[in-house]
């Protein structure tokens, strides 16, 4: 028998299990398998390997679910306790930004006036204004980064 036919049959045997095959391909394969003992053996070996894989028992560690549920509940409690602090942080940031936006024109004028009074270069007092504007965001970002680092450190220690 042509070697190409065996190669096609073997490909279809795998494809049938992985992706599925069309009705005409299934019919062709069935006809070929009736006439070819070596491809029939490949089909049987593939089926045997997959049925062994599907029926493979894995013993679970004793109390795995209970231990995990306990850890998850602890973590959930910890998160609930931290939530108000984080919410407070965001409220403060929002208030700070809202006030910042509302007072920006006045603060700009104040920086401009102070800069002119002490003879400061324009770039310097403009940078001062920019810094004043970004301080709340920088503080909030620093708190969040520090908090995440602390949590990562705790996780590493737990592991």
């Amino acid at each position: 028998m042509n070697e190409n036919l065996h190669a096609s049959a073997e490909k279809l045997i795998a494809q049938e299990r992985i992706e599925g095959i069309s009705q005409s391909e299934r019919e062709w394969l069935a006809t070929h398998l009736r006439e070819c003992p070596s491809c029939t053996q490949v089909a049987q070996q593939t089926s045997a390997a997959l049925s062994a894989l599907r029926g493979l028992p894995i013993p679970l560690p004793r109390g795995l679910a209970a231990r995990t549920q306990f850890r998850v509940q602890l973590r959930a409690q910890e998160m609930r306790e931290r939530e108000p602090k984080r919410r407070l942080l965001w409220i403060m940031c929002a208030m700070s930004w809202a006030l910042g936006i509302a007072t920006a024109p006045y603060v700009w004028r104040a920086f401009e006036w102070a800069g002119e009074r002490i003879g400061m270069p324009k770039l310097v007092w403009e940078m001062g204004f920019g810094l004043w504007w970004t301080i709340p965001a920088l503080v909030a970002a620093a708190v969040v980064v520090l908090e995440n680092l602390r949590q990562a450190h705790e996780r590493d220690q737990a592991r």
């Binding site: 795998a14 995990t68 549920q69 998850v72």
Partner: protein, 209 residues
Amino acid sequence: MSATFTTLTSAPLRSVLLFSAQMADDNKALALGLKRRDPDLLDQLIEQYQYRLFRYLLYLTSSRERAEDFFQETWIRVLERGHQYDSKYKFEAWLFRIARNLVIDWQRAKKMQSLDALTDPEEGAPMEFAAQNQPSPLHLVLTAEEKSGVHASLDRIPTVYREVLVLRFQEELGLEEIAGVLAAPLSTVKSRLYRGLEALRGAMQGGAA
């Protein structure tokens, strides 16, 4: 509306559509519960998926202790990132992806390269957690009977192939879902499955001989 639905669809198609609609509703409820960090839902999910997740992690890490650590860590991540779950996708695919990412992160933290680059035999030398010339941890945890069976055959094939075989034939995930778990193209998933199936058949034949 329901009369139109009944007359326009055949009975098997109708049951498939109803099942899909039911699944979509279940996934939405699940997403909502995860977003709220519902403790009862999490307890139930841990119970429900404990066997499948542990099995996947065991085949991924080849170590019972490490699989147990990652199992717990995965559920902590589910709690923390529950709001990121998209109800369009199967929960188990998302769960396995979290577990896999944790394993990869751990490997990276151990100053190793990514799991894909190291374990894909098409891209380089296959990686196992044990040194190449030593028995793998999976082999060490097997009982004498298990060593001669399908466990041993799985132990002989590279991790990337073992992983897709487990996801496809034990977890019965679709090809797209596996691609989602692996964050890999569909063509890569298919290629690994074909090679993995061939390797498993070969390994089982080798074991039986």
